[in-house]
Symmetry: C2
Subunit: 429 residues, 2 copies
């Protein structure tokens, strides 16, 4: 490192964790554009939820440091180079994915205020405001909390102890890469931004995947890394769309229709590999059963909760019932994957459908077993839309352990969407 760089680094009051508004998942920007077009005045509240209550975030992380990091994110705006990349780059084979009116809005955006309060050993962290603005808090807020927790654990370690810690983590990842490179024609992308160990570590993981897997590594969900490393930015849409659409529904009939309204809007905007169904928000079985026929013409399905093999089998039966050829369809697995499961699912479904993987936390944050008390193991932290225009949101998913929302609303949604017994799956990350 040269002297000037070092001096420049000393000028930071803090060591910022998130240094760019595009250090976020690509699908956030796609969804943001869609929301900006269709629901820009909807008021939404996002809230941090630590599903791993055994991790006492407020004891580990200093409130002042957390505020500094969040304040720093609020000071960020899109740089000229970032704007040029979003405007000029090709995404999913398409030029001008981001429309001029959206870009003009995004170029002047600063993230809205946050509300932070310590409650017991946890933090209450919420973001209230216009949907297209607050939704952009989710990924950086999670990344900040994960990294501050890591920094707290690493704080007292020696220089060489730290080097060896990273050496061990690197070796662990590389052993997974060596396993995955045995698999011919694997298609796998990095989905690990939100619960990464740190930005630099995610960047390292992405480069290791690229060297180890070559063209089988299809890209990263992280826009900043995609830009810096000249990779494909990957991602389509998430549960927040049906959750907010559902919360805005006026009655049960509108509620039942809401998930399809989301995809109708999406259908208008996107084609090809961006037409991916995320069917599990209110139960995959009911969603597919009542889906309109045009949805069976979409490119594929992303399996993000429940038993992944069972989800893929359900999708295959559904395509067959609707007269579609499953071997032409894409199935993206993205829930709690590790390399063993990836290899297993690959062999189970290759030939029957086109298989792809979005590998998240256990790619970018597998420090399990590397420090005493497993204090660096990733944990289940999420940041979700919890209300829209004053109505609470609900998520059911295919795993009751991932359900969220007020109990009476959960009961109503289960009734409206005809969700029966569900198999509980352990939520690792």
């Amino acid at each position: 490192m040269d002297i000037a760089t070092r001096v420049w680094n000393h000028k930071w009051k803090i060591d910022p964790i998130v240094r760019s508004l595009i250090d976020t998942d690509f699908y956030k920007l796609l969804m943001c554009q869609s929301v900006f077009r269709n629901h820009r005045d909807t008021n939404v509240t996002f809230s941090l939820i630590n599903r791993s209550s055994e991790v006492p975030l407020a004891k580990l992380i200093d409130e002042g440091e957390l505020r500094e990091q969040l304040d720093h994110i609020r000071s960020l705006s899109l740089t000229r180079g970032e704007s040029t990349w979003l405007r000029g780059n090709t995404f999913y084979g398409k030029r001008q994915m981001f429309r001029p009116d959206f870009m003009k809005w995004f170029e002047t955006l600063q993230l809205p205020a946050y509300h932070l309060e310590r409650v017991g050993d946890q933090y209450e962290l919420t973001f209230e405001g216009k949907w297209p603005e607050v939704m952009l808090w989710e990924i950086p807020a999670l990344a900040v909390l994960m990294e501050l927790r890591g920094r707290a654990v690493l704080h007292d370690m020696g220089k060489f102890e730290l080097q060896v810690l990273y050496a061990r983590a690197a070796t662990k990842l590389w052993e997974k890469v060596e396993h995955l490179r045995q698999v011919p024609d694997l298609k796998i992308a990095d989905f690990g931004t939100r619960r990464r160990h740190s930005f630099l570590w995610q960047d390292w993981c992405v480069q290791a995947m690229l060297e180890g897997l070559g063209k089988n590594f299809t890209g990263t969900s992280n826009c900043l890394i995609a830009k810096n490393r000249d990779l494909e930015a990957i991602g389509t849409n998430a549960h927040e769309l049906p959750m907010v659409y559902a919360a805005l529904a006026k009655d049960d009939a509108a509620l039942a229709q809401a998930p399809y309204d989301v995809l109708a809007d999406w259908h208008e905007e996107h084609s090809g590999n961006l037409r991916m169904i995320l069917p599990d928000t209110y139960g995959t079985d009911g969603f597919l059963k009542h889906a309109p026929d045009w949805l069976a013409g979409w490119t594929g399905i992303r399996i993000d909760s429940g038993d992944p093999a069972a989800g893929a089998e359900t999708a295959i039966r559904w395509w067959q019932d609707r007269g579609e050829d499953p071997t032409k369809k894409l199935v993206i697995f993205s829930d709690g994957l590790d390399e063993q499961k990836i290899v297993e699912l690959y062999h189970q479904f290759t030939g029957r459908v086109r298989v792809s993987f979005g590998w998240g936390t256990l790619l970018t944050n597998d420090f399990r077993g590397l420090v005493p008390n497993d204090a660096l193991a990733p944990f289940s932290l999420v940041c979700k839309a919890v209300s829209a225009n004053g109505n609470p949101t609900v998520k059911l998913s295919d795993n009751p352990n991932k359900a969220m929302g007020p109990a009476e609303e959960i009961a109503r949604y289960k009734r409206v969407f005809g969700v029966g017994e569900q198999v509980a799956q352990k939520v690792v990350v």
Copy 2:
């Protein structure tokens, strides 16, 4: 790295492996000063000997590259800072360890010519000249060959593959350090210069030992690293002294006396912890049996061949026979150690003698099992004085696998020194 440093690096025609005349073992300089005083006009030939004939050095290492590295070493001379350090630093608690006449000579020294020839898959590399000059070739020549062999193996590896290789090696070393830090009052030094993986790697290992073991890490044999890292430079004397003294002996009576002549000269020059007996050149048993009484007053013994526990027991019995208290004596183990053996010997002898360790190749070059065909495993390469004033040298040691010299001379030495049956030990490094 700043731009200027990078440009400066590009100016090198080669990437030099040895960049300093004091990138060598401390005991070489101590012995060199002794030789400079007592035998400066003796003609000695040093020769490279690859005891691991399965490693085809001439196939792995390009002759032109080897010559460039050796030529670069011949271009080196002592820098002002190095000279200041040797003249001004305290070694083994003593100021002005290196006398002004020796320093004056050393400051103008350049290493003499080398003779290199490819014979089959091996190199013949010899150094002929005045003893105090040629003896300084041993360590850099070995380091160059070890590192060029490593570079040949690493040449086609990718950037991240290399990072993970070093990550694995670092983890491997750190696990040894974690094991050794369990041992209270361990005394251990780095003796790993000659067969190190590379200079940078040795430097890393030394720093890791320092962080991991604190004051239990007593220093390094490498003068350059000791200087740069402000550590103790460690080492006393080696087999080359008795080997050359013995080769110069006029008859069998003088030969039998030669090993003691070495130590008599040493006794005049050095005191305290530098008075370490290296008893195994022509068999430890006979050496101790016939040793003069003043030698029992020396500080300790270094065990460098044969079964180390047996060697230590022999020393303890000898001290007891001579009326010395073994618990006041220092035993330094330095032959083919790894951390398991270190812990075992520590527990076996602590309390009975003062125990210390000189840890060599498996500290600074344990890349075993990290690449296919174990192509980075350290191997047994030495560079020895093979003749003095035209007479061949002989080494017997306590391990017949380490014996060297012409067969008829070995037979003569065995007769003169009364060496009987010896137990063969596998030579790892």
